[in-house]
Amino acid sequence: MVEKSVQEINIKIEDGSVNVVTAEEMVGIVEELGAEGAAKEVDVVTTGTFGAMCSSGLMLNLGHSEPPIKIQKLWFNDVEAYSGVAAVDAYLGAAQNSDVRGIQYGGAHVIEDLLRGKEINVHATSYGTDCYPRKVLDTSITLEDLNEAFLLNPRNAYQKYAAATNSSKRILHTYMGELLPQFGNVTYSGAGVLSPLSNDPEYQTIGLGTRIFMGGAQGYVIGNGTQHSPNNGFGTLMLRGNLKDMSPDYVRAASFTGYGATLYMGIGIPIPILNEKLAASTAVRDSDLVTEILDYGAGSRDKPLVREVNYAELRSGSVEIQGREVLTSSMSSFKNARKISNELKDWVKHGKFLLSMPVERLARDSKVKPMKQTQAVPLVKDVMSDFIVTIKKTQTVRDAAKKIWENSFNHVAVISDAGELVGLVTAWDVSKAVAENRFDSVESIMTKKVLSCAPNEPVDLAARRLDRYGVSAMPVVDTQMRVLGIITSDNISKLMARRY
């Protein structure tokens, strides 16, 4: 039974006798010595992660101007910051895009530019008060000119993250990168074996007040992050650190095509090995960390599960989906995660970093709720016509004309003998065939590449698809491609007419 305290470990750090290893090295040590042996031997295990953390931002104070201003609206290099706090305090969110340059440049880029010593243009407006008479302010500042510049990141260092893929027929531009059509690739994020929270999944040593490596400086955990979900292993952290002490090596702006700006943060957390339980948990391997591959093709909050996967598989370069090898891309940098765990190890070893115990532990039993929405989103099945005219592909153009005429319906779904949707014939297709004197099977005149949608899709997604492809109707099908109904631009106009 090993029992150590953080105070004892800190004394060892100060006198230089501390034994510190990275979470990668710990795997082999526990394999060799067992948890108890490793707990006796090792005092601190360092972790690291380096990836996109959108939920980050800068809390700053500009100092007072002459005459003073109570800022209501504020921009840094045309990126809007929130200034609904005291006169010259503001919060610049990393994922806020520029009003002028769009998603190429955002709050994250302002933060990196500040860190690199660049001048930033400031534009502020107000309504003027007796104590703050000024209404407009234009100036330029550098990081040095700010009184305080703290990164206050509401959600960083996800314990693990779901991987992404795309079953749809077009490229998706997401915060998980470019997802190629028809399961063309898988992207993932997280440092696996080095992931801070995955090395202390009971949150024994990580909580409010834990001193950490943050962006190359010493920062702190200030509680659990937003959307903290420990029940299923998706814990998150809220962090604070002084930007003025950080390094652009570990705080990097990025922009995802079609999505927007985000900040790559480098975070490292030291885990004191107080007992054998912590020794065992810091020996976690990539193959122990299971996450999910989700299908982003649906465009809905509830992304369908494609399969479960562990980080060893993801990091191997390819995973199997439906019997096919699909290449994987990491969106976070393992090389930098390792660099961070080594740098933190160096700090501890050379007495430059002392550990702290949390004054409050992270919540271990909370769950993320979906948004409460007071206006129900209508689904395709709520507005579709469940009456649909179908025709077998072997029937003739004359049969199709007759069906259109008899049912006064513009669209006829073409089905196979098994009842699966194989095409669509419109009154226009029939007229064209007649004009060209073609009266053979509908198969020869139908549109073969038919867009379709699912009954549980929100109507606005279906409407967006109709608009994107410039078509007036889509058959609604179940998972076996059996036709359940049809949604037309008419159905959508009726929905709008009913609402307004």
């Binding site: 190629l180 690739n185 990097r252 922009s255 290449l327 940098s333």
Partner: protein, 128 residues
């Protein structure tokens, strides 16, 4: 080797790629082709020792032929070596070595541009 063939507007209606291949019996493996009624640009693979022959034939028919010496450039300062580019590249230009450093095999690149859109750090660009 990878080459770029540019077909100017005044030659776009002539089958100059086919003519050049038939005439020289040099095979071009066309990897990317962007051709419309006004302009054409192709990336093709050709045997090193046959390059001069096909180049002469193409140029005699009005095409412009450029060797893709450095088809893609990586800004090592901007790149964080995440590896986002790896899975979108159809030619397997990108890979990790055993230290999780990013390796770029430029010779395989066909300038499709997928990796450029994928890179969150804007570290990749076509050409030099």
């Amino acid at each position: 080797m990878k080459i770029k063939i540019i077909i100017p507007t005044e030659r776009i209606h002539n089958p100059i790629i086919a003519e050049s291949m038939v005439e020289t019996k040099v095979l071009l493996n066309i990897m990317v082709a962007n051709i419309d009624s006004t302009y054409g640009e192709l990336i093709a693979d050709v045997n090193d020792h046959q390059f001069n022959r096909i180049k002469k034939a193409l140029e005699s028919k009005g095409a412009v032929v450029v060797v893709l010496g450095q088809p893609i450039t990586r800004d090592e300062e901007e790149c964080v070596e995440c590896g986002a580019c790896i899975s979108v590249c159809p030619m397997k230009v990108y890979s990790f070595d055993e230290n999780w450093s990013l390796c770029v095999d430029e010779q395989k690149c066909i300038q499709c541009g997928m990796c450029i859109k994928m890179c969150p750090h804007g570290a990749l660009k076509l050409g030099e």
